[in-house]
Symmetry: C2
Subunit: 188 residues, 2 copies
């Protein structure tokens, strides 16, 4: 198997994520992609098929990476409630970067099954881990025992979306911190 020159596919995908998250699918031209990914146009089509397939791949990659980052936080602290807090704090700190997940949901809603599947896959994985941690925190008496872990997790992820949109609309870091704090307050 002759391994010849190959550009870094993952790196190129990351660059595509960077463009898509900032300008959306319709707002991104193939020229913008080629420039950002630093590959020839032909390589783009050979490697990723077409613009839509590349977008789906970018959304998928972003989703799994973002989910992984959340999971890392969720396992960071021994006390479950501290991990939950760590997860929200990371969101606050990284909120200045546009979220491709939210952008994609806004742009396409439920109209593209291949995207919906990607969202759901990531959501299920994240939901599972979060609920587990939330139940631990409940058992430890650190958060409310009357709420179901499902609705708490749903609320936290809705809050994440709220925080990111607030950031995109120009909220200060101080305001974002306050949003994160209040989200946790709801489940205490």
């Amino acid at each position: 198997m002759a391994r010849t020159k190959e550009f870094d596919k993952e790196l190129a995908l990351d660059a595509a994520v960077g463009v898509f998250r900032e300008h959306g699918f319709d707002g991104t031209s193939t020229d913008m992609l080629v420039r950002a990914m630093k590959i020839g146009r032909q390589s783009l089509y050979d490697t990723f098929g077409d613009k839509w397939k590349l977008y789906c791949l970018a959304v998928e990659r972003y989703s799994t990476e973002e989910t992984n980052a959340h999971l890392v936080m969720l396992r960071k602290e021994p006390r479950a409630v501290d991990s939950i807090r760590a997860m929200m704090e990371r969101v606050v700190e990284t909120a200045e970067q546009a979220c491709l997940g939210i952008s994609s949901i806004c742009e396409f809603g439920q109209s593209r099954p291949e995207l919906t599947y990607v969202y759901q896959t990531a959501d299920r994985r994240l939901m599972h881990a979060t609920c587990q941690r939330l139940e631990e925190a409940q058992a430890a008496g650190d958060i409310s025992g009357t709420l179901s872990s499902d609705e708490m997790a749903d609320f936290l992820f809705a809050s994440v979306a709220g925080i990111r949109i607030a950031a995109r609309s120009g909220a200060s870091q101080k305001q974002l911190k306050s949003l994160g704090r209040l989200a946790l307050r709801a489940i205490e």
Copy 2:
């Protein structure tokens, strides 16, 4: 002043809002607009200038109407806390419709000053009324007295965004209700 035939400008704008909120600016073609607004293409350009100006006008109209709807809720109930709840409940009930404000912020962030100005104007008006009501509720002892009205209002609006995105990503009415309830729980 000869009043000649005129199509309903406001009605046409509403139709434009309907298309833009669902497909965004880049995802909307002038053909889609002309069809939805039920006017000739030339009338569109004569009346609204171009696609971008029409979009700005649509965002402005949507913002003020949405703000008005919030304000109506905020004044609906005698008890301040009931009004706040009414405001959130309306959001939950109407969440299946895409929000042009969120869509616009997602698509353009802070990159278009003329849009940013529209957001801020609506936000200021709504913020003022909400803080007033929140302080009333604090005085009545119905919500927390330790939080500032500003951060509570910010949080409620972030929650509105979170709820609407959850809806667009397919959350059930039951889930949305739970989100609204938990948002209020944060400021209790």
